[in-house]
C-alpha cells in the first residue's frame, strides 16, 4: 500500500463510521499491513483481527461518539488541533488558524462540513494529498510545525480513555505512520530506520 493511501484510509477511519470495519476492505488491508505496530501495542494481530471482525456498527458508533464527540466524564479526546495547540483548550483558536494557513499555502480549502477543518480526518487527508502531489517541503513543515505538535498529545488522550481495540489500533498506526513519514522524508541524508513502520 502506498503512503498516500495509508493516510487517506486513516482519515476515513477517524470519520464517524458508517459501516463496520470488517466490511471495509481498505481498512482491513491497512491493519494487516502494520503487524509490528499492533504487537508493540501489546495485542496480537490475529486476536485483533477477530475482535474487529466481531465489532458491530452500533457499538462502534457509540465508541466513536464516546471518544471523539461527547461522553461521560468529558469528551476524552476532542480530535481538533485547536484544543491542543491553543492555550485555552478551545475550538477554533490559534491551532485552527494554523491549519487553515497550511491548506491555503497548498492551494486548497476544506469543503464546508459540520466539523471544523482542524479535525484529525481533514489533516490526515491533507497529508495524503501532499504526498500525492509530491510537495515534500510543505509536507515536512506541516508535520514538524503542526500535526506532530498535537497528534502525540491527542494520541495520549485516546489511550487514556481506554478505547476499544479498533480505535486503539487506528490511533497507533497513525502515530507510527506520521513518525516514520517525518523521519524518512524530512531528514535529508538520514536513514536510521531499522524496520519500516515501527515506532
Amino acid at each position: 500500500m502506498d503512503a498516500a493511501s495509508v493516510f487517506h484510509l486513516l482519515s476515513e477511519a477517524f470519520s464517524f463510521p458508517d459501516m463496520p470495519p470488517s466490511a471495509n476492505e481498505g481498512i482491513v488491508d491497512l491493519i494487516a499491513g502494520f503487524p509490528t505496530v499492533i504487537e508493540s501495542g501489546n495485542s496480537d494481530a490475529n486476536a485483533l483481527a477477530n475482535s474487529i471482525s466481531a465489532e458491530n456498527l452500533l457499538e462502534l458508533q457509540a465508541e466513536y461518539t464516546r471518544l471523539f464527540i461527547n461522553a461521560p466524564r468529558k469528551t476524552p479526546a476532542p480530535p481538533y488541533a485547536s484544543v491542543y495547540l491553543s492555550n485555552n483548550r478551545r475550538l477554533m483558536q490559534e491551532g485552527y488558524d494554523d491549519t487553515i494557513r497550511f491548506y491555503l499555502e497548498a492551494g486548497v480549502e476544506p469543503l464546508d462540513g459540520p466539523e471544523p477543518a482542524d479535525h484529525i480526518f481533514y489533516e490526515l487527508e491533507f497529508v495524503g494529498l501532499l504526498i500525492d502531489s509530491g510537495q515534500a517541503e510543505l509536507l515536512c513543515r506541516f508535520l514538524k510545525g503542526h500535526l506532530l505538535k498535537w497528534y502525540p498529545e491527542f494520541f495520549g488522550c485516546i489511550l487514556q480513555a481506554d478505547p476499544n481495540p479498533y480505535y486503539e489500533t487506528i490511533a497507533r498506526i497513525t502515530m507510527s505512520s506520521l513518525t516514520s513519514l517525518e523521519k524518512e522524508f524530512c531528514h535529508e541524508g538520514e536513514s536510521n530506520l531499522k524496520n519500516g513502520g515501527s515506532l
Partner: protein, 766 residues
C-alpha cells in the same frame, strides 16, 4: 519508502495542490480565495481591533443585555455591551464576556444523540436530525394514544424553549408549560404583586426605581452578587446619589457591606419583621394617608389584622435589636414616597408563607405611597412590535376533569407546578405521565429533591431534551437535541419595558457549529412532521421582518442603526392621573380574590419550623460569575470561581473545631450527603444557618471542569413544602449538620429559639 521514491511517485514535484486533480476522499477543493499562496494571509490587527460588529442579545442569564459580538474571519473573538443600549451601554458582566467560551467549548453538544445504554449511563450514538425528530414524534403520538394527551409534560425555560412549547400545546396536554423558573423562583412574588398592584412588579424583571430612591430596602436580595447589569447600575446610581440602604439578611452579603442599617435576621422570620413594621407605621401615623385614602382598598382590615405584631414581639421572633428595627422603619417613613422597597425575585423560600411575605412587602410599599413616583415601584412602558401570523397554536383552554392545576388557584395561568408533574410521574396519580420534554433547564439542579426526580425519570416511557452542554438532564435522556447557542441563532424579538425602553433582536453572530440547530428550526420541523398548523415561515428572518415592519424597520435597517430602537419611558404618574391596573383601579391592601379562593386575604405570621437540635438551616444564593449550574463548565468563569465554599459562623466553627479552609461533608435531615466542600469561617453568617453559593457540585460526568467541583445545595434540598397559592416548592426548608474526617458534628445552638417557633422533627426510621 525512501525519500527518492516519494519524489518519484509524485506527478508534479512543485505544483500547487489546487492546480492538480485532487484525489483522496474529496474533503478539499482548489482554493478560490484570491492570494491564497504562501505567506499571503492577511496580518490582522491585534485582539478584537478591526473586527466586524454584530448586535445581538445575551443569554448567559435571563436579564438579556444587548451586546455586540466582534467577529474576525467568521470567528467570535470578543463580546461587549451594545454601546447603543440605554440599559447596559458598552458593559457586560463576567458571564456575558464568557459567551465566547460557550461557543467554542469542546464539551458542547454537537449532534443529535440517542441513548443506547441504560438510562443514566450516558452511552450514546450520534444520529441524524431526521431520526432524532422522528423518534420524538413517534413517542409523542404513542404516549398520547395509550395514555391520553396529559401523559405528556414539558419543562421549559428561557428563549430557547418558547417555540417548542407550541408543539406541546398542540398535543392537547394541560402540561405544556411547567417553568421551573416560575415554580422554583418568581411564582410567589409575581402572584403577590399582581393581586396588590395589578401588574407584574417582579417577574423576569423588577420595576423598582433604585436609581432615584432616597432609601433602598433589601430583604434577602443580594444585588451585586446577583448581577443583572442594568439593575446593579441603578442600585449603584441610587447609592451614589446618597440613598440610605437597609439590608435584611442572615448573611453579611455584598450589599450588607454597603448598608447604613444591617439587620441579621433569623431565617424564616422575615414576615414577622415586615408585619411589625406595617403595624408600627400605622400606629405611629407614619404612612402616606393621602395615598391610602385615595388609592388603596382594605386599610381598616389591615389595621386590625396587624395589631398583634409589635416591634418587641418581632424582635424576639427575628432575633434582632428592636432599636435598630425602629431606626430602619423610621428612616424609610421619613423619606416616603421616594423609597425603593425591593420586591425580591427568587421568592420560593419557605412554602406556606411565601406569598404572604411578598404581600407584606407590597403593602409596606403602598403605605409608603411609593407607587409610580421616582424611587418607588414604577409602571412599565410597553414596547409593541408588530404581529407575524401563525406563530402560536390556537387551543381551547379547558381544564380537564382531573387536573394537576386545580389544587392551586394561581397556578393555572402559568403552568403546572413541577412538584405535581414529578408526583404524578412517580405514582401514576391522579393520572399517569409517561413522556417528558426538557428544554433550557437542568431539572436536577433546579427542582428540590432531585432524588425523586431521578426515580420519576425511570418510570417514563420516553424523555428527551434540548441541550447546549451535557448537564445531568442529558445523561438521563433517550434523545438529546443539540441546541445552537444564543450566539448562533435568531430568536423572538426582544423588548425591554423598564426605565429605558428599547427593542432589539437576537441574531447569529457566527454560524452554528457542528449540527446544532436553532430552537425555531427544531419546532418548525416538528410541526411539519406532526401536521401542526404553526410556524409557517421557513426562515426566522421572515417573521422578524414582519414584526419589525409596523415600526418602519427591517432586520437590515435595525442593524444599520446599531441594532437597537429606543423609546421614551413613562414610569411615573401624578396622583391625579394614577389608576392602578387592578379591577378596582386601587392598590389592594386586602386581596378579595385570595379570600374567594379560601386563602389568607391579608398576610399573617406563619411559623417556619426551625432546624432540629444539632442542625442548621441551609440557605444559598448567587455569585457574580455564575448563572446557576449552567455556567460551571465555562473555562473563564470556572477559572474565576472553580468551586464554592460553605459559609459557617465563626463561633459555631470554634465550638466544633472547624477552621477556615477545612473540608467537610454536609449531611441533611434525610441522611443525604454532599460532595466534600471547603468551609469559609466568618462572623458574617448567623450561627443557625449556613450559606452555599448555588449551582456547583455538578453530578454530570460529562462536564469536564464542573464535575464534582464544590457541593450542590440542590442535592441537599430533599424536603420541601408547596405554597397553597401557586404550588411552588420551598428551597430553604432543609437542614444540615457537618461531617469532618468521618466524624459527625452536631451544630451547637448559639442563639436561643423562642417557644413560638417549633422545631422540625426528624422522623426516626424504624
Amino acid at each position: 519508502m525512501k525519500r527518492r521514491e516519494f519524489i518519484k511517485l509524485s506527478a508534479a514535484g512543485c505544483a500547487a495542490l489546487g492546480l492538480m486533480e485532487l484525489q483522496g476522499r474529496g474533503l478539499f477543493r482548489p482554493a478560490v480565495s484570491q492570494g491564497a499562496t504562501a505567506g499571503a494571509t492577511p496580518q490582522y490587527l491585534p485582539g478584537s481591533l478591526g473586527a466586524k460588529e454584530v448586535p445581538s442579545v445575551c443569554e448567559m442569564c435571563f436579564w438579556r443585555c444587548p451586546i455586540v459580538g466582534k467577529v474576525k474571519d467568521g470567528k467570535l473573538v470578543k463580546i461587549e455591551g451594545n454601546p447603543k443600549s440605554p440599559s447596559n451601554g458598552p458593559r457586560v458582566c463576567a458571564r456575558g464576556n464568557s459567551g465566547v467560551q460557550l461557543v467554542y467549548d469542546p464539551d458542547r453538544m454537537k449532534y443529535p444523540m440517542k441513548r443506547i445504554g441504560a438510562r443514566g449511563e450516558g452511552k450514546w450514538a450520534k444520529i441524524s436530525w431526521d431520526e432524532a425528530l422522528d423518534e420524538i414524534v413517534h413517542n409523542m403520538q404513542k404516549v398520547k394514544k395509550e395514555y391520553g394527551p396529559n401523559a405528556i409534560a414539558y419543562f421549559d425555560h428561557g428563549a430557547s424553549a418558547e417555540f417548542m412549547r407550541e408543539i406541546f400545546k398542540a398535543t392537547g396536554t394541560e402540561n405544556y408549560t411547567n417553568e421551573p423558573a416560575f415554580f422554583q423562583c418568581v411564582g410567589p412574588v409575581a402572584v403577590a404583586y399582581l393581586n396588590t398592584a395589578g401588574y407584574l412588579v417582579s417577574g423576569t424583571r423588577q420595576y423598582i426605581d433604585m436609581g432615584n430612591a432616597k432609601v433602598i430596602l433589601l430583604v434577602g436580595s443580594h444585588i451585586g452578587e446577583n448581577v443583572h447589569v442594568s439593575h446593579v447600575r441603578e442600585f449603584v446610581a441610587g447609592l451614589n446619589k446618597g440613598a440610605k440602604l437597609i439590608v435584611v439578611d442572615p448573611r453579611f452579603s455584598a450589599p450588607a457591606n454597603k448598608a447604613d442599617i444591617y439587620l441579621p435576621i433569623r431565617p424564616g422570620t422575615d414576615t414577622a419583621l415586615l408585619l411589625s413594621w406595617i403595624n408600627y407605621v400605622i400606629q405611629k401615623n407614619l404612612y402616606d394617608k393621602e395615598f391610602v385614602r385615595d388609592h388603596c382598598n382594605g386599610f381598616e382590615k389591615l389595621r386590625e389584622s396587624v395589631k398583634p405584631y409589635t416591634i418587641e414581639w418581632a424582635a424576639k421572633i427575628c432575633d434582632l435589636n428592636p432599636n435598630e428595627m425602629r431606626k430602619a422603619i423610621e428612616l424609610l417613613a421619613k423619606h416616603r414616597p421616594n423609597v425603593a422597597i425591593h420586591p425580591g425575585r427568587h421568592s420560593t423560600w419557605y412554602g406556606k408563607e411565601d406569598v404572604g411575605r411578598h404581600q407584606a412587602l407590597a403593602i409596606l410599599n403602598g403605605l409608603m405611597g411609593a407607587v409610580a413616583v421616582p424611587g418607588g415601584i414604577y409602571f412599565q412602558t410597553p414596547v409593541k412590535p408588530g404581529k407575524a401570523k401563525g406563530m402560536e397554536v390556537e387551543v381551547e383552554e379547558n381544564t380537564p376533569a382531573i387536573s394537576l392545576k386545580t389544587e392551586y388557584p394561581y397556578a393555572e395561568a402559568l403552568g403546572t407546578p413541577t412538584a405535581n408533574i414529578i408526583k404524578a410521574t412517580l405514582t401514576g396519580k391522579p393520572y399517569p405521565i409517561k413522556l417528558w420534554g426538557i428544554n433550557g433547564v437542568n431539572i436536577l439542579q433546579t427542582i428540590p429533591n432531585p432524588y425523586d426526580t431521578m426515580e420519576a425519570i425511570k418510570k417514563l416511557d420516553f424523555i428527551f431534551c434540548s441541550e447546549m452542554l451535557a448537564g445531568e438532564t442529558a445523561i438521563w435522556s433517550d434523545i438529546i437535541l443539540p441546541d445552537a447557542t444564543y450566539l448562533e441563532r435568531y430568536d423572538a424579538i426582544h423588548t425591554y419595558d423598564g426605565l429605558t425602553p428599547y427593542l432589539t433582536i437576537r441574531q447569529p453572530v457566527v454560524d452554528a457549529m457542528f449540527e446544532t440547530r436553532s430552537p425555531y428550526w427544531v419546532a418548525h420541523q416538528l410541526a411539519r412532521k406532526m401536521n401542526i398548523n404553526v410556524f409557517p415561515y421557513e426562515k426566522e428572518q421572515d417573521y422578524l421582518n414582519l414584526q419589525l415592519q409596523p415600526l418602519g424597520l427591517s432586520i437590515e435597517k435595525l442593524n444599520a442603526q446599531g441594532g437597537i430602537l429606543t423609546f421614551p419611558s413613562k414610569p411615573y404618574r401624578s396622583r391625579k392621573e394614577l389608576k392602578l391596573p387592578t379591577d378596582s383601579g386601587k392598590y389592594e391592601l386586602y386581596v378579595e380574590d385570595f379570600a374567594k379562593n379560601k386563602l389568607d386575604p391579608l398576610p399573617k405570621f406563619i411559623t417556619v419550623t426551625a432546624p432540629p437540635k444539632g442542625y442548621m438551616r441551609l440557605v444559598y444564593g448567587r455569585v457574580p460569575m455564575h448563572t446557576f449550574s449552567r455556567t460551571m463548565n465555562n473555562l473563564w468563569l470556572h477559572n474565576e470561581m472553580p468551586e464554592n465554599e460553605l459559609w459557617l459562623n465563626d463561633e459555631v466553627a470554634a465550638k466544633i473545631g472547624i477552621k477556615d479552609g477545612d473540608i467537610v461533608v454536609m449531611e441533611n435531615q434525610d441522611g443525604k450527603k454532599s460532595n466534600p466542600v471547603k468551609v469559609k469561617v466568618t462572623a458574617g453568617m448567623r450561627p443557625d444557618a449556613a450559606f452555599l453559593p448555588h449551582g456547583f457540585g455538578s453530578k454530570s460526568p460529562l462536564l469536564t471542569k464542573a464535575y464534582n467541583k464544590g457541593a450542590s445545595d440542590q442535592f441537599m434540598i430533599t424536603r420541601y413544602e408547596n405554597d397553597p397559592y401557586v404550588g411552588s416548592s420551598s428551597h430553604r426548608t432543609s437542614f444540615i449538620r457537618l461531617i469532618k474526617d468521618g466524624k459527625t458534628l452536631d451544630i451547637p445552638e448559639i442563639r436561643p429559639l423562642p417557644p413560638e417557633i417549633p422545631r422540625f422533627e426528624i422522623k426516626k426510621t424504624a
